[in-house]
Protein backbone atom coordinates (compact mmCIF):
# COMPACT_ATOMS: atom_id res chain seq x y z
CA UNK A 1 0.00 0.00 0.00
CA UNK A 2 1.40 3.35 -0.94
CA UNK A 3 1.20 5.16 2.32
CA UNK A 4 1.81 8.79 2.95
CA UNK A 5 1.32 10.12 6.42
CA UNK A 6 -0.09 6.80 7.56
CA UNK A 7 1.10 5.90 11.01
CA UNK A 8 -0.42 3.00 12.86
CA UNK A 9 -3.36 2.92 10.43
CA UNK A 10 -4.12 6.57 11.08
CA UNK A 11 -3.89 9.34 8.53
CA UNK A 12 -3.08 12.44 10.56
CA UNK A 13 -4.04 15.89 9.37
CA UNK A 14 -4.82 14.83 5.82
CA UNK A 15 -7.44 13.35 3.52
CA UNK A 16 -7.54 9.84 2.18
CA UNK A 17 -8.92 8.76 -1.15
CA UNK A 18 -9.47 5.54 -3.03
CA UNK A 19 -9.50 6.04 -6.79
CA UNK A 20 -9.99 3.87 -9.85
CA UNK A 21 -10.19 4.54 -13.59
CA UNK A 22 -10.93 1.05 -14.95
CA UNK A 23 -14.17 1.02 -16.93
CA UNK A 24 -16.85 -1.44 -15.84
CA UNK A 25 -15.48 -2.04 -12.37
CA UNK A 26 -16.54 -0.63 -9.02
CA UNK A 27 -14.21 1.26 -6.76
CA UNK A 28 -14.88 0.38 -3.14
CA UNK A 29 -13.95 1.79 0.22
CA UNK A 30 -14.97 -0.85 2.66
CA UNK A 31 -15.15 -1.61 6.34
CA UNK A 32 -15.30 -5.36 6.88
CA UNK A 33 -15.68 -7.35 10.07
CA UNK A 34 -15.26 -11.04 9.39
CA UNK A 35 -16.30 -12.31 12.80
CA UNK A 36 -19.70 -13.94 12.69
CA UNK A 37 -19.99 -15.09 16.28
CA UNK A 38 -20.80 -11.94 18.22
CA UNK A 39 -23.67 -9.51 17.82
CA UNK A 40 -21.37 -6.67 18.82
CA UNK A 41 -18.87 -7.38 16.03
CA UNK A 42 -20.02 -4.39 14.00
CA UNK A 43 -18.72 -2.98 10.72
CA UNK A 44 -18.75 0.78 11.06
CA UNK A 45 -18.00 3.70 8.81
CA UNK A 46 -17.88 6.88 10.81
CA UNK A 47 -17.84 10.58 10.03
CA UNK A 48 -16.99 12.64 13.09
CA UNK A 49 -16.69 16.39 13.33
CA UNK A 50 -14.52 18.23 15.82
CA UNK A 51 -17.35 19.12 18.20
CA UNK A 52 -20.38 21.33 18.59
CA UNK A 53 -18.47 24.37 17.28
CA UNK A 54 -17.01 22.47 14.34
CA UNK A 55 -18.29 21.52 10.91
CA UNK A 56 -20.76 18.88 9.75
CA UNK A 57 -20.36 15.11 9.82
CA UNK A 58 -21.78 13.62 6.66
CA UNK A 59 -21.74 11.29 3.69
CA UNK A 60 -21.69 12.82 0.21
CA UNK A 61 -22.77 11.28 -3.09
CA UNK A 62 -21.51 13.06 -6.19
CA UNK A 63 -21.77 12.72 -9.93
CA UNK A 64 -19.18 15.14 -11.38
CA UNK A 65 -21.00 17.70 -13.55
CA UNK A 66 -24.22 16.03 -12.31
CA UNK A 67 -26.07 15.63 -9.02
CA UNK A 68 -24.81 16.12 -5.49
CA UNK A 69 -26.51 14.73 -2.38
CA UNK A 70 -25.28 15.09 1.18
CA UNK A 71 -26.61 13.21 4.17
CA UNK A 72 -25.48 13.98 7.66
CA UNK A 73 -25.60 16.18 10.73
CA UNK A 74 -26.14 19.89 10.12
CA UNK A 75 -24.03 21.06 13.03
CA UNK A 76 -24.86 24.72 12.40
CA UNK A 77 -28.61 24.25 12.99
CA UNK A 78 -30.07 24.02 16.48
CA UNK A 79 -30.90 20.49 17.49
CA UNK A 80 -28.29 18.93 15.18
CA UNK A 81 -30.85 17.63 12.67
CA UNK A 82 -30.01 14.72 10.43
CA UNK A 83 -30.37 16.35 7.03
CA UNK A 84 -30.48 15.27 3.40
CA UNK A 85 -29.65 18.05 0.94
CA UNK A 86 -28.90 18.35 -2.75
CA UNK A 87 -25.55 20.07 -2.28
CA UNK A 88 -22.01 19.39 -1.16
CA UNK A 89 -22.75 19.39 2.60
CA UNK A 90 -25.80 19.30 4.92
CA UNK A 91 -25.59 23.03 5.65
CA UNK A 92 -26.03 24.16 2.05
CA UNK A 93 -28.43 23.60 -0.83
CA UNK A 94 -32.05 22.56 -0.62
CA UNK A 95 -33.19 20.43 2.30
CA UNK A 96 -34.94 17.33 0.98
CA UNK A 97 -35.50 15.69 4.36
CA UNK A 98 -34.72 16.66 7.90
CA UNK A 99 -35.00 14.61 11.09
CA UNK A 100 -35.05 16.57 14.31
CA UNK A 101 -35.08 18.29 16.61
CA UNK A 102 -37.37 16.06 18.67
CA UNK A 103 -37.04 13.55 15.80
CA UNK A 104 -39.91 15.05 13.83
CA UNK A 105 -39.33 14.31 10.18
CA UNK A 106 -40.20 16.88 7.55
CA UNK A 107 -39.89 16.92 3.78
CA UNK A 108 -39.64 20.61 2.85
CA UNK A 109 -39.84 20.08 -0.91
CA UNK A 110 -42.51 17.37 -0.97
CA UNK A 111 -45.65 18.31 -2.90
CA UNK A 112 -48.15 19.76 -0.40
CA UNK A 113 -50.75 22.49 -0.78
CA UNK A 114 -53.63 24.17 0.98
CA UNK A 115 -55.84 26.50 -1.07
CA UNK A 116 -59.00 28.18 0.12
CA UNK A 117 -61.77 30.46 -1.03
CA UNK A 118 -61.05 33.89 0.42
CA UNK A 119 -63.38 36.32 -1.36
CA UNK A 120 -66.70 34.63 -2.04
CA UNK A 121 -67.08 33.08 -5.48
CA UNK A 122 -70.69 34.14 -6.15
CA UNK A 123 -73.45 32.75 -8.35
CA UNK A 124 -71.58 29.73 -9.66
CA UNK A 125 -74.32 27.10 -9.58
CA UNK A 126 -77.80 26.41 -8.26
CA UNK A 127 -79.36 26.02 -11.68
CA UNK A 128 -77.90 22.56 -12.35
CA UNK A 129 -74.80 24.02 -13.95
CA UNK A 130 -71.49 22.39 -13.04
CA UNK A 131 -68.81 24.65 -11.66
CA UNK A 132 -65.10 23.84 -11.47
CA UNK A 133 -63.64 25.62 -8.47
CA UNK A 134 -61.42 28.56 -9.33
CA UNK A 135 -62.85 29.15 -12.80
CA UNK A 136 -64.31 32.57 -11.98
CA UNK A 137 -62.30 33.55 -8.90
CA UNK A 138 -58.84 32.30 -8.03
CA UNK A 139 -58.42 30.50 -4.74
CA UNK A 140 -55.93 31.82 -2.18
CA UNK A 141 -52.92 29.83 -1.07
CA UNK A 142 -52.01 29.09 2.55
CA UNK A 143 -49.04 27.14 1.23
CA UNK A 144 -47.96 25.57 -2.05
CA UNK A 145 -44.84 23.62 -1.26
CA UNK A 146 -43.14 22.70 -4.55
CA UNK A 147 -45.37 25.07 -6.60
CA UNK A 148 -47.64 22.46 -8.16
CA UNK A 149 -50.90 24.41 -7.95
CA UNK A 150 -52.68 26.66 -10.42
CA UNK A 151 -55.04 28.67 -8.24
CA UNK A 152 -57.58 29.42 -10.99
CA UNK A 153 -58.29 30.57 -14.50
CA UNK A 154 -59.99 29.08 -17.52
CA UNK A 155 -59.32 25.54 -16.33
CA UNK A 156 -60.10 26.36 -12.73
CA UNK A 157 -58.03 25.35 -9.70
CA UNK A 158 -55.93 22.27 -10.31
CA UNK A 159 -52.87 20.43 -9.16
CA UNK A 160 -50.41 19.12 -11.73
CA UNK A 161 -48.70 16.10 -10.18
CA UNK A 162 -44.93 16.60 -10.13
CA UNK A 163 -44.28 12.85 -9.98
CA UNK A 164 -46.26 9.61 -10.25
CA UNK A 165 -47.55 8.60 -6.85
CA UNK A 166 -50.40 8.38 -4.39
CA UNK A 167 -51.80 11.69 -3.26
CA UNK A 168 -54.09 12.47 -0.32
CA UNK A 169 -56.76 14.76 -1.67
CA UNK A 170 -59.30 16.42 0.59
CA UNK A 171 -61.62 19.34 0.53
CA UNK A 172 -64.20 21.15 2.61
CA UNK A 173 -67.23 22.58 0.90
CA UNK A 174 -70.05 24.80 2.11
CA UNK A 175 -73.09 25.18 -0.10
CA UNK A 176 -75.03 28.43 0.38
CA UNK A 177 -78.76 28.84 -0.30
CA UNK A 178 -79.21 25.25 0.76
CA UNK A 179 -82.71 25.88 2.05
CA UNK A 180 -83.90 25.82 -1.56
CA UNK A 181 -81.42 23.39 -3.08
CA UNK A 182 -82.72 19.91 -3.67
CA UNK A 183 -79.56 18.21 -4.87
CA UNK A 184 -75.81 18.62 -4.55
CA UNK A 185 -73.19 16.66 -6.47
CA UNK A 186 -69.57 17.04 -5.49
CA UNK A 187 -66.75 15.45 -7.45
CA UNK A 188 -63.00 15.07 -7.33
CA UNK A 189 -61.86 14.91 -10.96
CA UNK A 190 -58.49 13.39 -11.73
CA UNK A 191 -56.92 12.47 -15.05
CA UNK A 192 -57.58 8.83 -14.18
CA UNK A 193 -60.84 8.82 -12.20
CA UNK A 194 -63.82 10.77 -10.98
CA UNK A 195 -64.72 10.37 -7.33
CA UNK A 196 -68.21 11.37 -6.20
CA UNK A 197 -67.53 12.79 -2.75
CA UNK A 198 -71.08 13.79 -1.91
CA UNK A 199 -74.54 13.33 -3.36
CA UNK A 200 -77.18 14.74 -1.06
CA UNK A 201 -80.22 16.95 -0.56
CA UNK A 202 -79.01 20.15 1.13
CA UNK A 203 -82.53 21.43 1.68
CA UNK A 204 -83.15 18.66 4.20
CA UNK A 205 -80.12 19.29 6.33
CA UNK A 206 -79.01 22.89 6.04
CA UNK A 207 -77.97 25.08 8.95
CA UNK A 208 -80.92 27.43 9.55
CA UNK A 209 -78.68 30.28 10.60
CA UNK A 210 -76.59 30.46 7.45
CA UNK A 211 -78.84 28.49 5.10
CA UNK A 212 -75.61 26.60 4.40
CA UNK A 213 -74.74 22.95 4.22
CA UNK A 214 -71.12 21.92 4.71
CA UNK A 215 -69.22 18.70 4.45
CA UNK A 216 -65.72 17.35 3.91
CA UNK A 217 -64.44 14.77 1.47
CA UNK A 218 -61.17 12.84 1.74
CA UNK A 219 -59.83 10.50 -0.91
CA UNK A 220 -56.43 9.03 -1.76
CA UNK A 221 -55.90 9.24 -5.51
CA UNK A 222 -53.35 7.87 -7.93
CA UNK A 223 -51.77 10.43 -10.22
CA UNK A 224 -49.14 9.97 -12.87
CA UNK A 225 -46.59 12.71 -13.44
CA UNK A 226 -48.34 15.74 -15.00
CA UNK A 227 -51.80 14.34 -14.25
CA UNK A 228 -54.22 16.89 -12.89
CA UNK A 229 -56.89 16.88 -10.22
CA UNK A 230 -59.60 19.44 -9.53
CA UNK A 231 -62.94 19.92 -7.78
CA UNK A 232 -66.35 20.55 -9.28
CA UNK A 233 -69.83 20.78 -7.87
CA UNK A 234 -73.36 21.08 -9.13
CA UNK A 235 -76.38 22.30 -7.16
CA UNK A 236 -79.96 22.01 -8.37
CA UNK A 237 -83.22 23.88 -7.77
CA UNK A 238 -81.82 26.78 -5.80
CA UNK A 239 -84.00 29.32 -7.56
CA UNK A 240 -81.44 30.17 -10.20
CA UNK A 241 -77.68 30.47 -10.34
CA UNK A 242 -77.45 31.88 -6.83
CA UNK A 243 -75.22 29.43 -4.97
CA UNK A 244 -71.82 30.74 -3.97
CA UNK A 245 -68.60 29.30 -2.66
CA UNK A 246 -68.40 31.22 0.58
CA UNK A 247 -65.26 33.06 1.56
CA UNK A 248 -63.86 33.53 5.02
CA UNK A 249 -66.52 33.70 7.71
CA UNK A 250 -65.48 35.11 11.07
CA UNK A 251 -61.88 34.27 10.03
CA UNK A 252 -62.86 30.64 9.48
CA UNK A 253 -62.04 28.89 6.22
CA UNK A 254 -65.21 27.33 4.82
CA UNK A 255 -64.19 26.14 1.37
CA UNK A 256 -60.77 24.65 0.82
CA UNK A 257 -58.79 22.08 -1.14
CA UNK A 258 -55.81 20.37 0.49
CA UNK A 259 -53.48 17.85 -1.08
CA UNK A 260 -50.15 16.14 -0.42
CA UNK A 261 -48.01 13.42 -1.91
CA UNK A 262 -48.21 10.38 0.38
CA UNK A 263 -45.94 7.87 -1.32
Amino acid sequence: MSSQNIINNTVSDNDFSVNLATAGSTVTLSSNQTDNSSATSHAEIRAQAGGTSGGDAFLRFNIPSGQDYSFGIDNSTSGDPLTLTDDADPSTGNILMTIGPSYGQTLPLQCAANSYVEPADSNVTGDSSTYVWGTNTNLSSRFDQNSDITQGGASGWYISAPISGMYMFKSMVTCSASNNSSNLLYDILTSNNTFRGDDCAPNSQYNTSSNGYGTTVTQIVELDAADTAKIQYNVTNSGGKVVQLGGLSATRIRNAIQVYLVC
Binding site: L29, F58, I99
Partner: protein, 259 residues
Protein backbone atom coordinates in the same frame (compact mmCIF):
# COMPACT_ATOMS: atom_id res chain seq x y z
CA UNK B 1 6.47 6.26 7.55
CA UNK B 2 5.28 3.36 9.57
CA UNK B 3 2.48 1.20 8.26
CA UNK B 4 0.94 -1.51 10.34
CA UNK B 5 -1.08 -4.37 8.84
CA UNK B 6 -1.33 -2.76 5.42
CA UNK B 7 -1.09 -5.40 2.72
CA UNK B 8 -2.23 -5.00 -0.88
CA UNK B 9 -4.32 -1.97 0.06
CA UNK B 10 -6.08 -3.97 2.77
CA UNK B 11 -5.87 -3.30 6.48
CA UNK B 12 -6.12 -6.72 8.07
CA UNK B 13 -7.63 -7.20 11.50
CA UNK B 14 -7.46 -3.57 12.48
CA UNK B 15 -9.18 -0.22 12.20
CA UNK B 16 -8.20 2.63 9.95
CA UNK B 17 -8.91 6.27 10.61
CA UNK B 18 -8.37 9.60 8.94
CA UNK B 19 -8.05 12.58 11.25
CA UNK B 20 -7.46 16.27 10.95
CA UNK B 21 -7.19 19.14 13.39
CA UNK B 22 -6.70 22.12 11.05
CA UNK B 23 -9.46 24.71 11.48
CA UNK B 24 -11.64 25.67 8.48
CA UNK B 25 -10.77 22.56 6.52
CA UNK B 26 -12.68 19.36 5.93
CA UNK B 27 -11.22 15.94 6.47
CA UNK B 28 -12.26 13.68 3.64
CA UNK B 29 -12.22 9.97 3.07
CA UNK B 30 -13.24 9.65 -0.51
CA UNK B 31 -13.96 6.91 -2.95
CA UNK B 32 -13.85 8.12 -6.55
CA UNK B 33 -14.09 6.50 -9.94
CA UNK B 34 -12.78 8.60 -12.81
CA UNK B 35 -14.18 6.49 -15.65
CA UNK B 36 -17.13 8.17 -17.30
CA UNK B 37 -17.81 5.67 -20.10
CA UNK B 38 -19.39 2.67 -18.39
CA UNK B 39 -22.48 2.58 -16.17
CA UNK B 40 -20.93 -0.18 -14.08
CA UNK B 41 -18.08 2.09 -13.04
CA UNK B 42 -19.56 2.67 -9.60
CA UNK B 43 -18.17 4.40 -6.55
CA UNK B 44 -19.09 2.38 -3.49
CA UNK B 45 -18.71 2.86 0.21
CA UNK B 46 -19.26 -0.50 1.87
CA UNK B 47 -19.82 -1.61 5.44
CA UNK B 48 -19.93 -5.38 5.67
CA UNK B 49 -20.22 -7.48 8.78
CA UNK B 50 -19.28 -11.10 9.35
CA UNK B 51 -22.70 -12.62 8.64
CA UNK B 52 -26.11 -13.28 10.12
CA UNK B 53 -24.65 -14.00 13.56
CA UNK B 54 -22.35 -11.00 13.54
CA UNK B 55 -22.85 -7.35 14.42
CA UNK B 56 -24.40 -4.51 12.44
CA UNK B 57 -23.23 -2.84 9.23
CA UNK B 58 -23.69 0.90 9.37
CA UNK B 59 -22.61 4.48 8.89
CA UNK B 60 -22.21 6.58 12.01
CA UNK B 61 -22.35 10.36 12.14
CA UNK B 62 -21.05 11.95 15.30
CA UNK B 63 -20.63 15.37 16.86
CA UNK B 64 -18.47 14.80 19.98
CA UNK B 65 -20.36 15.97 23.07
CA UNK B 66 -23.30 16.48 20.70
CA UNK B 67 -25.52 14.32 18.54
CA UNK B 68 -24.99 10.77 17.33
CA UNK B 69 -26.87 9.28 14.36
CA UNK B 70 -26.39 5.96 12.66
CA UNK B 71 -27.89 4.53 9.50
CA UNK B 72 -27.47 0.87 8.82
CA UNK B 73 -28.62 -2.70 9.08
CA UNK B 74 -29.81 -3.83 12.50
CA UNK B 75 -28.62 -7.40 12.28
CA UNK B 76 -30.48 -8.29 15.47
CA UNK B 77 -33.86 -7.14 14.15
CA UNK B 78 -34.78 -8.89 10.90
CA UNK B 79 -32.17 -6.93 8.94
CA UNK B 80 -34.14 -3.70 8.85
CA UNK B 81 -32.47 -0.53 7.63
CA UNK B 82 -32.55 1.64 10.74
CA UNK B 83 -32.07 5.34 11.31
CA UNK B 84 -31.08 5.63 14.97
CA UNK B 85 -29.80 8.25 17.37
CA UNK B 86 -27.03 6.25 18.99
CA UNK B 87 -23.68 4.68 18.19
CA UNK B 88 -25.11 1.71 16.27
CA UNK B 89 -28.49 0.60 14.86
CA UNK B 90 -29.13 -1.86 17.69
CA UNK B 91 -29.13 0.77 20.45
CA UNK B 92 -30.82 4.08 21.15
CA UNK B 93 -34.08 5.28 19.62
CA UNK B 94 -35.27 3.96 16.28
CA UNK B 95 -36.19 7.11 14.32
CA UNK B 96 -37.09 5.43 11.04
CA UNK B 97 -37.25 1.76 10.15
CA UNK B 98 -37.32 0.28 6.65
CA UNK B 99 -37.94 -3.45 6.58
CA UNK B 100 -36.31 -5.69 4.02
CA UNK B 101 -39.76 -5.85 2.36
CA UNK B 102 -39.79 -2.05 2.00
CA UNK B 103 -42.33 -1.05 4.64
CA UNK B 104 -41.37 2.21 6.31
CA UNK B 105 -42.35 3.20 9.85
CA UNK B 106 -41.32 6.20 11.87
CA UNK B 107 -41.74 5.24 15.53
CA UNK B 108 -41.03 8.73 16.92
CA UNK B 109 -43.03 10.76 14.38
CA UNK B 110 -45.74 12.82 16.03
CA UNK B 111 -49.05 10.93 15.77
CA UNK B 112 -52.02 10.54 18.06
CA UNK B 113 -55.55 9.19 18.34
CA UNK B 114 -57.90 9.56 21.29
CA UNK B 115 -61.54 8.92 22.01
CA UNK B 116 -64.26 9.92 24.42
CA UNK B 117 -64.95 6.95 26.70
CA UNK B 118 -67.93 8.42 28.57
CA UNK B 119 -70.48 11.05 27.62
CA UNK B 120 -69.69 14.73 27.96
CA UNK B 121 -73.20 15.79 29.03
CA UNK B 122 -75.11 19.04 28.50
CA UNK B 123 -72.32 20.93 26.76
CA UNK B 124 -74.13 22.86 24.05
CA UNK B 125 -77.54 23.58 22.54
CA UNK B 126 -78.05 27.25 23.36
CA UNK B 127 -75.01 28.43 21.47
CA UNK B 128 -72.33 27.42 23.96
CA UNK B 129 -69.02 26.35 22.43
CA UNK B 130 -68.15 22.80 23.52
CA UNK B 131 -64.51 21.86 23.16
CA UNK B 132 -64.05 18.16 22.62
CA UNK B 133 -62.18 16.72 25.60
CA UNK B 134 -62.50 19.74 27.86
CA UNK B 135 -65.52 18.69 29.94
CA UNK B 136 -64.81 14.96 29.91
CA UNK B 137 -61.22 14.00 29.24
CA UNK B 138 -60.40 11.91 26.20
CA UNK B 139 -58.69 8.52 26.41
CA UNK B 140 -55.56 8.09 24.36
CA UNK B 141 -55.31 5.18 21.94
CA UNK B 142 -51.76 6.20 21.14
CA UNK B 143 -49.73 9.37 21.52
CA UNK B 144 -46.48 8.87 19.68
CA UNK B 145 -44.04 11.62 20.75
CA UNK B 146 -46.38 12.78 23.56
CA UNK B 147 -47.78 15.89 21.85
CA UNK B 148 -51.44 15.43 22.83
CA UNK B 149 -53.19 16.05 26.12
CA UNK B 150 -56.43 14.39 27.07
CA UNK B 151 -58.23 17.72 27.34
CA UNK B 152 -58.17 17.77 23.55
CA UNK B 153 -55.17 19.96 22.76
CA UNK B 154 -52.55 18.87 20.27
CA UNK B 155 -49.31 20.87 20.30
CA UNK B 156 -47.09 20.75 17.22
CA UNK B 157 -43.58 19.62 18.20
CA UNK B 158 -41.98 21.02 15.05
CA UNK B 159 -42.91 23.35 12.20
CA UNK B 160 -44.53 21.31 9.45
CA UNK B 161 -47.72 20.23 7.71
CA UNK B 162 -50.18 18.19 9.76
CA UNK B 163 -53.25 16.12 8.93
CA UNK B 164 -55.78 16.45 11.74
CA UNK B 165 -59.25 15.01 12.06
CA UNK B 166 -62.19 14.12 14.24
CA UNK B 167 -65.31 12.03 14.48
CA UNK B 168 -68.14 13.37 16.58
CA UNK B 169 -71.45 11.99 17.80
CA UNK B 170 -74.09 13.86 19.78
CA UNK B 171 -77.58 13.39 21.12
CA UNK B 172 -80.20 15.31 23.05
CA UNK B 173 -81.23 17.76 20.37
CA UNK B 174 -84.74 19.11 20.22
CA UNK B 175 -86.57 20.24 17.11
CA UNK B 176 -85.23 23.74 17.73
CA UNK B 177 -81.67 22.56 17.21
CA UNK B 178 -81.40 23.36 13.55
CA UNK B 179 -78.02 25.03 13.68
CA UNK B 180 -74.80 23.21 14.36
CA UNK B 181 -71.21 23.56 13.32
CA UNK B 182 -67.84 21.96 13.91
CA UNK B 183 -64.75 24.17 13.94
CA UNK B 184 -61.22 22.83 13.85
CA UNK B 185 -59.15 25.60 15.41
CA UNK B 186 -55.41 26.02 14.97
CA UNK B 187 -53.09 28.83 16.03
CA UNK B 188 -52.74 29.97 12.42
CA UNK B 189 -56.27 29.58 11.09
CA UNK B 190 -59.67 28.11 11.91
CA UNK B 191 -61.56 25.73 9.65
CA UNK B 192 -65.32 25.26 9.50
CA UNK B 193 -65.45 21.49 9.33
CA UNK B 194 -69.21 21.18 8.95
CA UNK B 195 -72.35 23.19 9.35
CA UNK B 196 -75.72 21.57 9.18
CA UNK B 197 -79.23 21.22 10.54
CA UNK B 198 -78.52 18.99 13.51
CA UNK B 199 -82.13 17.95 14.08
CA UNK B 200 -82.70 17.04 10.44
CA UNK B 201 -79.69 14.75 10.45
CA UNK B 202 -80.68 12.67 13.47
CA UNK B 203 -80.76 8.94 12.99
CA UNK B 204 -84.42 8.12 13.61
CA UNK B 205 -83.58 4.84 15.32
CA UNK B 206 -80.77 5.87 17.64
CA UNK B 207 -81.55 9.57 18.00
CA UNK B 208 -77.87 10.22 17.39
CA UNK B 209 -76.10 12.56 15.01
CA UNK B 210 -72.63 11.77 13.70
CA UNK B 211 -70.17 13.64 11.54
CA UNK B 212 -66.48 13.70 10.70
CA UNK B 213 -64.02 16.30 9.47
CA UNK B 214 -60.35 16.63 8.72
CA UNK B 215 -57.87 19.27 7.64
CA UNK B 216 -54.36 19.38 6.19
CA UNK B 217 -52.78 22.47 7.61
CA UNK B 218 -49.57 24.27 8.45
CA UNK B 219 -48.47 24.52 12.07
CA UNK B 220 -45.42 26.16 13.62
CA UNK B 221 -43.59 24.56 16.51
CA UNK B 222 -45.71 25.15 19.64
CA UNK B 223 -48.92 25.86 17.71
CA UNK B 224 -52.02 24.11 19.00
CA UNK B 225 -55.17 22.48 17.64
CA UNK B 226 -58.50 22.06 19.41
CA UNK B 227 -61.93 21.12 18.10
CA UNK B 228 -65.20 22.84 18.91
CA UNK B 229 -68.83 21.88 18.48
CA UNK B 230 -71.74 24.33 18.69
CA UNK B 231 -75.50 23.77 18.59
CA UNK B 232 -77.70 26.87 18.69
CA UNK B 233 -81.28 28.04 19.23
CA UNK B 234 -82.30 25.39 21.76
CA UNK B 235 -83.60 26.57 25.12
CA UNK B 236 -80.64 25.19 27.03
CA UNK B 237 -77.39 23.31 26.78
CA UNK B 238 -78.87 19.83 26.81
CA UNK B 239 -76.87 18.28 23.98
CA UNK B 240 -74.42 15.54 24.97
CA UNK B 241 -71.24 14.58 23.13
CA UNK B 242 -71.32 10.82 23.11
CA UNK B 243 -68.76 8.48 24.55
CA UNK B 244 -68.59 4.78 23.76
CA UNK B 245 -71.87 3.29 22.53
CA UNK B 246 -72.00 -0.51 22.82
CA UNK B 247 -68.22 -0.50 22.82
CA UNK B 248 -67.91 1.53 19.64
CA UNK B 249 -65.94 4.76 19.49
CA UNK B 250 -68.33 7.53 18.49
CA UNK B 251 -66.27 10.62 19.29
CA UNK B 252 -62.54 11.07 18.94
CA UNK B 253 -59.70 13.09 17.45
CA UNK B 254 -56.57 12.12 15.57
CA UNK B 255 -53.63 13.67 13.80
CA UNK B 256 -50.09 13.22 12.57
CA UNK B 257 -47.16 15.11 11.16
CA UNK B 258 -47.15 14.51 7.42
CA UNK B 259 -44.12 16.44 6.23
Amino acid sequence: MVTQNNLNNTVIDNDFSINRATASTSVIASVAHSDNTNTSSNAELLAENGGASGGDAFLRLNIPSGQDYCIGIDNTSSDSLVFGDDVNPSTGNNIMNITSAGEITRPLQSAFAAYLATDDPNVTGAGTTARIGLGTALTEIFDQNSDFDTNGTFTAPITGKYHLGLILCAEGVTSAGTRSSVTMATSNVNYLGEQTDFFAQLNSNSGLYSTCASIFTDMDAGDTNTNNFIVSIMAGDTVDIKGLVTGKIKTGTWGYLVL
